[in-house]
């Protein structure tokens, strides 16, 4: 369970961003999570409720966008989304690939602020 420390980092990032904008109120923080980020969406959602308490972004919601899992196929020279971490093979030719182009994302992408 490292979602709480991840949630605390999100709170810090949002707080710093709010400060940088003159202390605007943050209504929501948008994050992007890849299926290979090592972070579980549900666990992060509950951890965020704890992490935001008493912080400058205590009123904010966490909005999680799930990033697609995309692998690169060396045979076809294409980058294609695959349905899950159990299907790491090219949808065209079936060649297995460990070359993950997207899927490890763990980032704050945007904030809804009130001015």
């Amino acid at each position: 369970m490292h979602e709480l420390s991840i949630a605390l980092s999100i709170v810090d990032i949002a707080g710093e961003e709010s400060d940088r904008r003159g202390g605007v109120a943050v209504l929501a923080v948008h994050v992007k999570l890849g299926p290979l980020s090592g972070v579980v969406k549900e666990a992060l959602t509950s951890a965020y409720e704890l992490a935001r308490e008493g912080s400058p972004v205590a009123q904010s919601r966490l909005v999680i966008e799930e990033a697609p899992l995309v692998i690169r196929c060396a045979q076809c020279e294409t980058e294609e989304p695959v349905p899950s971490v159990y299907d790491l093979r090219c949808p065209h030719c079936g060649t297995p690939s460990a070359d993950v182009v997207s899927g490890r994302e763990l980032e704050v992408t945007a904030m809804e602020i009130q001015e």
Partner: protein, 230 residues
Amino acid sequence: MTSQTCSPQTRLVEVRTKILKENDVVARSLRQSFREAGVYVVSLVSSPGAGKTKFLEETLLLLRGKYRVAALVGDLATDNDARRLARAEVPVKQITTGTTCHLEAEMVRTALAGWNLRDLDLLFIENVGNLVCPASYDLGENLRLVLFSVTEGEDKPLKYPTIFNTADLAFITKTDLAEVTEFDWAAARQNIETVRPEMPILGVSAKSGQGMSDWLELIGLRLRQSREHV
């Protein structure tokens, strides 16, 4: 920086910040120091009880005559593992993480303070026994090993796909017990291949020594290759 209107009072602003950016920055700087010092760094992850410490203890004993080796060992509370590894009579330092379920790059940096990396060829970092949390944290290592034992069952890779996917090499440990546990090698290999295509797999028993010479040969090769590419 783009923005769009959500309602008369609120606005959506783009931020784009990696949540683990602080860890990534430290990990990058560690990787740079390791490269400059010519030390090859291997981290080990597994569930508790997979035999990481025993495997590392044997590895250090077998390598110490040929290479200058050292180890950092992460543990939630005790220094039992560090004391075990110290029997190999190589530099060993304990990182006690308290309630933290994984090592972070900053913990590695702090633990390395006072050590001259140029005095080392190989540095091993044993992570806290956990197959979930360590996946997200780069420690600046060159090679990440994921270990699971024949007693844990063939489906470990399917239960923890992320850590297997982020690792470079899989070890199946305690192979001396494979027969009594009726370990299904083909299924285990297939499961690893599913979540991390083309990952090299080694079967080892630190107790009987099975597979250890292949591992020593591999690590020697990787060290030489890393120095050629500086």
